[in-house]
């Protein structure tokens, strides 16, 4: 498990995100592709890949992928 792997998983989960286009500092909520389906998909991805049931409202507390990764692994 690593931050880089998490970023790749995130890129794969959210539609219309090019591989290797995001970084740890990316504000994912500012992405054009970030919508209610993306929220649902990222939560499902975290459940499937990281065995963690993330609540939708937790995503509000995070801005960057690094911060989100910290919540997933914390």
């Amino acid at each position: 498990m690593s931050l880089q792997r998490f970023i790749e998983d995130f890129e794969e989960a959210v539609e219309d995100i090019e591989p290797n286009s995001l970084t740890a500092a990316t504000n994912f909520k500012a992405l054009e592709a970030w919508d209610s389906l993306a929220v649902l998909t990222v939560i499902a991805m975290v459940d499937a890949e990281y065995d963690l049931r993330l609540k939708a409202d937790i995503l509000k507390d995070c801005d960057t992928l690094e911060a989100l990764y910290a919540r997933v692994t914390g």
Binding site: A13, S36, L40, I43, A44, D47, K55, A56, D57, L59
Partner: protein, 245 residues
């Protein structure tokens, strides 16, 4: 003969009586004088409901065939069956787990069918009995993240139509209820995967606002009652107008 008063002393099995909708249904039917037998997975929650209502109960895992058979053995002849157990996995298909799909289709579709099969084989359903299965507005709409759940409920409704024809000669009826957004534990669990904002937007699609468990309970009581004696094989939306748009 009118509506709910015809439920007095009717022997009705409520399966899934520990859930948000199931417990509301059991409590509502009890107020109408029905003679209930309640069943659910959570022993502690079931004991509370059974004790509150003064009715017989049996805690069981519905996915376990032998436990299901013991339920059928235990109940007497019934005038009605309500199946309110179910699960709702929320995830896009590419992240749905094998177990989530299997459990969803088992508990939401196969088990209610198998339960009625076993009740029929053991002649536990009286002539004129009414069967009510809890479906969902999701059965007839496409909603991202709900593929397994929608499929399970659509299949349930299809099974109800076929079963209704098979049982009509015995004046038995089979119907589904399709609730929309109801304030229950399952809805809350689903809401954890949907942002508060998205949920608020969804709620705007309900002309009459969000429903209460009691709304579903009243509709269930109607379908169980003599007032619905000429209604079978159908699905009644209980959704505050959601599906008419």
């Amino acid at each position: 003969m009118s509506g709910f008063d015809t439920l007095k002393n009717k022997k009705i099995l409520v399966v899934g009586a520990t859930g948000g909708l199931g417990s509301a249904i059991a409590r509502f039917l009890s107020t109408k004088g029905a003679a209930l037998f309640v069943s659910g997975r959570n022993q502690e929650a079931l004991s509370v409901i059974a004790q509150d209502l003064g009715v017989d109960s049996l805690a069981l895992n519905l996915n376990n065939a032998s436990e299901r058979v013991s339920l059928v053995d235990t109940v007497g002849a019934l005038d009605g069956v309500v199946y309110a157990a179910g699960v709702s996995p929320v995830a896009p298909v590419r992240y749905l787990k094998d177990a989530e799909i299997t459990t969803c289709l088992d508990l939401n579709t196969m088990v209610p069918l198998l339960l009625v099969r076993d009740l029929l084989k053991q002649k536990k359903l009286n002539a004129g009995a009414s069967i009510v299965w809890l479906s969902s507005v999701a059965s007839s709409r496409g909603t991202a993240g709900y593929a397994a759940y929608s499929a399970s409920k659509a299949a349930l409704e299809a099974a109800a139509r076929c079963l209704a024809l098979e049982l009509a000669p015995k004046a038995m009826r089979v119907n589904c209820l399709a609730p929309g957004m109801i304030e229950t534990g399952m809805a809350n669990a689903a809401a954890e995967r949907i942002s508060t904002e998205a949920l608020a937007v969804h709620l705007k699609d309900y002309p009459l606002g969000a429903g209460r468990p009691k709304d579903v309970a009243a509709a269930t009581a109607f379908l169980l009652s003599e007032a619905a004696r000429w209604i079978t094989g159908t699905t009644l939306p209980v959704d505050g107008g959601f599906s008419i748009q």
